[in-house]
Symmetry: C2
Subunit: 275 residues, 2 copies
């Protein structure tokens, strides 16, 4: 993948800024923790305005700019847009407005899908806004114009995940409805084009079977972040902090962070954005 950013010097005092509309971006945080265990992370979840997946580009750009301003005021050394909708709709605009790198989950996922496919037919699932933007299809074809891309918007998955219904017959029925048309078309690689979706990986694997490679945009995004850091922050005595700012108190947030993703959170504060 072309790396449009210069690499970043180590600076343990400044956090990596990460944001999402809600809890989905925590899957990216979990991967960052695994690959870069000594980096401080500041996460913003825009729970007062979640979800982004059905909203317009103009609104998602405005929200992404407001959160990026907040992360910059907290001295973030880079901004990871851990939300596919904002990556598709806002990163192309917002990334030009800051002196630190602003990177999304979309290109790393697209690049991994291009490397994974053997049949040349890639499936993509995501929110309405992500799929409607055709950003994955464009990114995949920019790497290899020969590939065929089939996409399906899956608007019910985020609500099911926010309810914690990771293994449930209703979730399975919804997944079957979204995935079976893609499987019939013969895709051999499926991009989980929403940072919420890795939480459904076992349920998705069960439907897809072993013949389909699942591309996890969270994991590939963390690999990309790793490649940008000139050298990882050196280990210190104490573990690096994970601080969370939410725009509205969220009941399910801590439960999913701690139980499903085994993240240790050092602080969780409510911060209003907008008015």
């Amino acid at each position: 993948m072309t790396n449009q950013f210069s690499t970043i010097a180590p600076d343990a005092t400044r956090p990596i800024g990460v944001f999402d509309s809600g809890i989905g971006g925590l899957t990216v945080v979990a991967e960052l923790r695994r690959k870069l265990p000594h980096e401080r992370i500041l996460y913003v979840g825009d729970t007062a305005r979640v979800p982004y997946g059905g909203k317009s580009a103009e609104t998602v750009i405005r929200y992404s700019r407001e959160i990026s301003n907040l992360l910059i005021s907290e001295e973030a050394k880079m901004i990871v847009v851990a939300c596919n909708t904002a990556s598709a709709l806002a990163v192309p605009t917002v990334s030009r407005e800051y002196s630190v790198p602003v990177l999304g989950v979309l290109e790393p996922g697209a690049s991994a899908a291009v490397r994974a496919t053997r049949s040349g037919h890639v499936g993509v699932i995501g929110t309405k806004a992500t799929i409607g933007s055709e950003a994955y299809a464009h990114a995949i074809r920019s790497f290899n114009p020969e590939l065929r891309v089939s996409s399906v918007a899956c608007p019910l998955l985020v609500p099911l995940i926010e309810e914690g219904l990771f293994q449930d017959e209703i979730t399975e029925a919804v997944l079957r409805r979204y995935l079976e048309p893609l499987l019939r078309q013969g895709v051999d690689t499926l991009v989980l084009g929403c940072t919420h979706y890795p939480l459904l990986k076992p349920a998705i694997s069960k439907i897809c079977g072993p013949g389909i490679v699942l591309v996890d945009s969270a994991e590939n995004c963390a690999l990309f972040v790793e490649s940008l850091l000139m050298e990882p922050t050196a280990p210190k005595k104490e573990d690096p902090r994970l601080d969370i700012l939410l725009t509205d108190p969220s009941e399910g947030f801590l439960r999913i962070a701690e139980k499903s993703l085994r993240l240790r959170i050092d602080s969780l504060k409510i911060r209003h954005i907008g008015k």
Copy 2:
């Protein structure tokens, strides 16, 4: 029901202001059109921040105040909070801040349920925030402290409705999971405590059977509005306007307004609220 408001003199030039987080409040508009066919209506749908049902009281109060200010600046003669979540969390605070009546859907629904029940056991379904507030249970018991109230939060129904899946086996499976425990407990009256839910009335009736009275908060709210108007606006040559302001463009909005609720919309504009 105690009427805490003085009645309102006819004023055809000023609209009735109505708001909801999204499309749900249109069910109230449809009932207002039926009962008060000559009133101008100005509707605000806060589609940039939809849904409200999982958000905190503080945030829902802030959003309700911002929208009420907008309606007042457009000369609304009364404000109908056509959203159960905002009615439960925000109306008690916000209604004290304006010189025009601000009324919610909650008390009219509670009052109708009290009149309908024979067994003395009322069921209520709504969003997490509405059910968590226990506002229906309090309102029902304020009319009759002897009644038993059983409530279930149904967080997946609004996403299914926003997808237009009114008659669908997935919707039916989700409804069965929410409703069967209530039915087993022996409720004879079910309050549809969310203005989205009347769109699922046929599916809910099918599961509940003819023995259960469904209380539609939209219909009862419209009856209450009617009782507040000293006399309805006189008929004029042209039909009265229905103007819509949305905070974000919404793909499904016009489809549901026109096809499912047969509303004629005179104008639809996008208006940002907040920053």
